[in-house]
C-alpha cells in the first residue's frame, strides 16, 4: 500500500480518479479499519497537508467549515460565537477523547457515515449542506439527502468532501448523547435539536437522532407536530410519545430497541424542557 501526500487539491483529485484509492484525514476510523483488514486499498492519499480545507469562514449567512477542521477546533471559540451551532460544539466536546478530537475531522466524521457519529447527528439538525468536489466540479448536497444506507453516502469514489455549510440564523441548538461512559463511548442514542422560538411558539424546529437507524435520521413527524406549538408539559409529553413511534431502533450490543426508544423520548423531553426554561 502506497501513501501519497498531494501538494494541492487538484493533484489530490487527479490521484483520487485512480482505482482503489481512498483519502485519509485524521485517520481515527480509517487506521482502525485498515488494521482490522476491513479495507485494503492500493493507495491512500493523505490530505492533511491541504491548508485550504482547514478554514472556517462566514459569508452570506452561511458558516463554511473546511473538511479538515478537527473536533478540538469545533469544540472551541470559533463555533461558540454562533448560538444556532451550539449542537455542533456540544457534540464535538463529547466525541471520543482529547487525543481523538485533536485528529478527527468533521469531513471524516461525515463520510464515515456512522449512524452514531456525534458530529453527523448534530450537523443534521442544523440543516447543513456538504460540498463534494471532483475534477468535474463542485456539487452541494443537503445533509438530509447525503446518507443512503448503513455506512453509505452520496459521495462518489472520485470526489472529496471539502466543506460543510451551516446556515447561520436566529435560534439555538443542543446535543445530548448517552453512552456507557463519558469518554470514548459510541452513543447508544443521541439527539440534537435546532429551534427558533418566536412569541413562545416554535417558528422552526429540526430534530436529528443517532444510533436508532442505519444512518443518522431526522425526526420529521415530531418536527411537524412541534412546529407552531408552545412548549407546555402536555406538548413535551406528546412529542416524546410521537418520537418513540416514529423510530425503529434495533437491539445490539450497546442496548435494546426498547431502551433506545425510551432514551430518545427522554433526551427529547429533557432538551424541550431546557428550552422552555431558557425562554422564561
Amino acid at each position: 500500500m502506497d501513501v501519497i501526500r498531494p501538494g494541492s487539491l487538484q493533484d489530490c483529485l487527479r490521484i483520487l480518479k485512480t482505482e482503489h484509492t481512498i483519502p485519509i484525514a485524521g485517520g481515527t476510523d480509517l487506521m482502525v479499519n485498515l488494521a482490522l483488514n476491513k479495507i485494503s486499498p492500493d493507495r491512500i492519499i493523505d490530505i492533511t497537508g491541504l491548508q485550504e480545507l482547514k478554514e472556517i469562514s462566514l459569508s452570506d449567512n452561511f458558516l463554511k467549515i473546511g473538511a479538515l477542521v478537527t473536533f478540538s477546533r469545533l469544540a472551541g471559540k470559533e463555533i461558540a460565537q454562533y448560538p444556532c451551532c451550539n449542537a455542533l460544539r456540544e457534540a464535538a466536546e463529547k466525541m471520543g477523547s482529547p487525543q481523538i478530537r485533536n485528529r478527527a475531522t468533521i469531513g471524516g466524521n461525515l463520510v464515515t457515515g456512522s449512524s452514531a457519529g456525534d458530529g453527523s447527528v448534530a450537523i443534521l439538525a442544523l440543516d447543513a449542506q456538504v460540498e463534494l468536489t471532483g475534477l468535474d466540479g463542485i456539487r452541494k448536497v443537503p445533509l438530509s439527502l447525503f446518507y443512503s444506507g448503513y455506512h453509505q453516502t452520496a459521495i462518489h469514489s472520485d470526489e472529496l468532501l471539502t466543506a460543510v455549510y451551516i446556515p447561520i440564523r436566529p435560534g439555538t441548538s443542543s446535543f445530548q448523547k448517552v453512552g456507557k461512559r463519558n469518554a470514548l463511548a459510541i452513543a447508544v442514542a443521541s439527539l440534537a435539536i435546532y429551534s427558533y422560538i418566536r412569541d413562545s411558539h416554535f417558528e422552526q424546529i429540526y430534530i436529528a437522532i443517532g444510533s436508532v437507524a442505519p444512518t443518522p435520521i431526522r425526526a420529521v413527524k415530531t418536527d411537524l407536530f412541534l412546529q407552531g406549538q408552545k412548549i407546555t408539559s402536555g406538548v413535551i409529553k406528546e412529542a416524546a410519545r410521537i418520537i418513540q413511534d416514529e423510530i425503529a431502533p434495533i437491539t445490539d450490543i450497546r442496548g435494546t430497541a426498547d431502551y433506545r426508544r425510551k432514551l430518545i423520548a427522554n433526551l427529547l423531553a429533557d432538551q424541550l424542557q431546557q428550552l422552555s426554561e431558557s425562554k422564561n
Binding site: 485517520g27 482529547p98 487525543q99
Partner: protein, 151 residues
C-alpha cells in the same frame, strides 16, 4: 522521506509510506517509552504530543508528521532531571506497572502547558483518553493537581 522534529531534534528519515507513527518512533527512533496497548485509539498508552497536542500515535501514519514537532516521554526530562510532573507521579504513588504513565504524563503536560492551574474536573477531562488499570486515577489526579498548585 519524512522530515520532522522529534524531542527537539531535526530528523530526516527514509520510511515506508504506510508506516504507523508509533512504529516509526519505537522501531526506527528507539523511543520505546511510546507504548502500544489497544492499537485502536481507546487506551492512550501510545500518546505523543503533536505540535503540543496529545494524539494517539497508533492510529496515525508517520508520514502525517511531516513538518511537525513530536514530543515523546523521552523528551520530557531536561538535562537528566525529571520534570515536575514526572517527580510528582513518583511522589504520589501514581505509577504502578508504568505502562500508562508516559501517555498520562504527556496528556497532563499538554493540559498544563495551555492551562497551568486547571480545576480537578479539567484534569480528569484531559486524561479521559488514557486508561490506567493499576493505581486507579486518584493518585494520578493528585499528582497533576500538586504540580498545578505549586506555582
Amino acid at each position: 522521506m519524512l522530515s520532522c522534529k522529534i524531542n527537539g531534534e531535526e530528523i530526516h528519515s527514509e520510511i515506508p509510506s504506510d508506516m504507523r507513527l508509533i512504529d516509526f518512533l519505537r522501531e526506527e527512533m528507539n523511543l520505546t517509552g511510546v507504548k502500544e496497548g489497544c492499537s485502536e485509539g481507546e487506551c492512550g498508552a501510545c500518546t505523543v504530543l503533536f505540535n503540543g497536542d496529545p494524539v494517539n500515535s497508533c492510529i496515525m501514519l508517520a508520514i502525517q508528521a511531516e513538518g511537525a514537532e513530536i514530543t515523546t516521554i523521552e523528551g520530557i526530562a531536561k538535562d537528566g532531571k525529571l520534570s515536575d510532573l514526572q517527580q510528582a507521579f513518583i511522589d504520589h504513588g501514581a505509577v504502578q506497572c508504568g505502562f500508562c504513565t508516559p501517555g498520562m504524563i504527556l496528556a497532563a503536560q499538554a493540559l498544563l502547558d495551555k492551562n497551568p492551574h486547571p480545576a480537578e474536573a479539567e484534569i480528569r477531562h484531559a486524561i479521559s483518553g488514557n486508561l490506567c488499570r493499576c493505581t486507579g486515577y486518584q493518585a494520578i489526579v493528585d499528582a497533576i493537581l500538586a504540580v498545578s498548585q505549586r506555582k
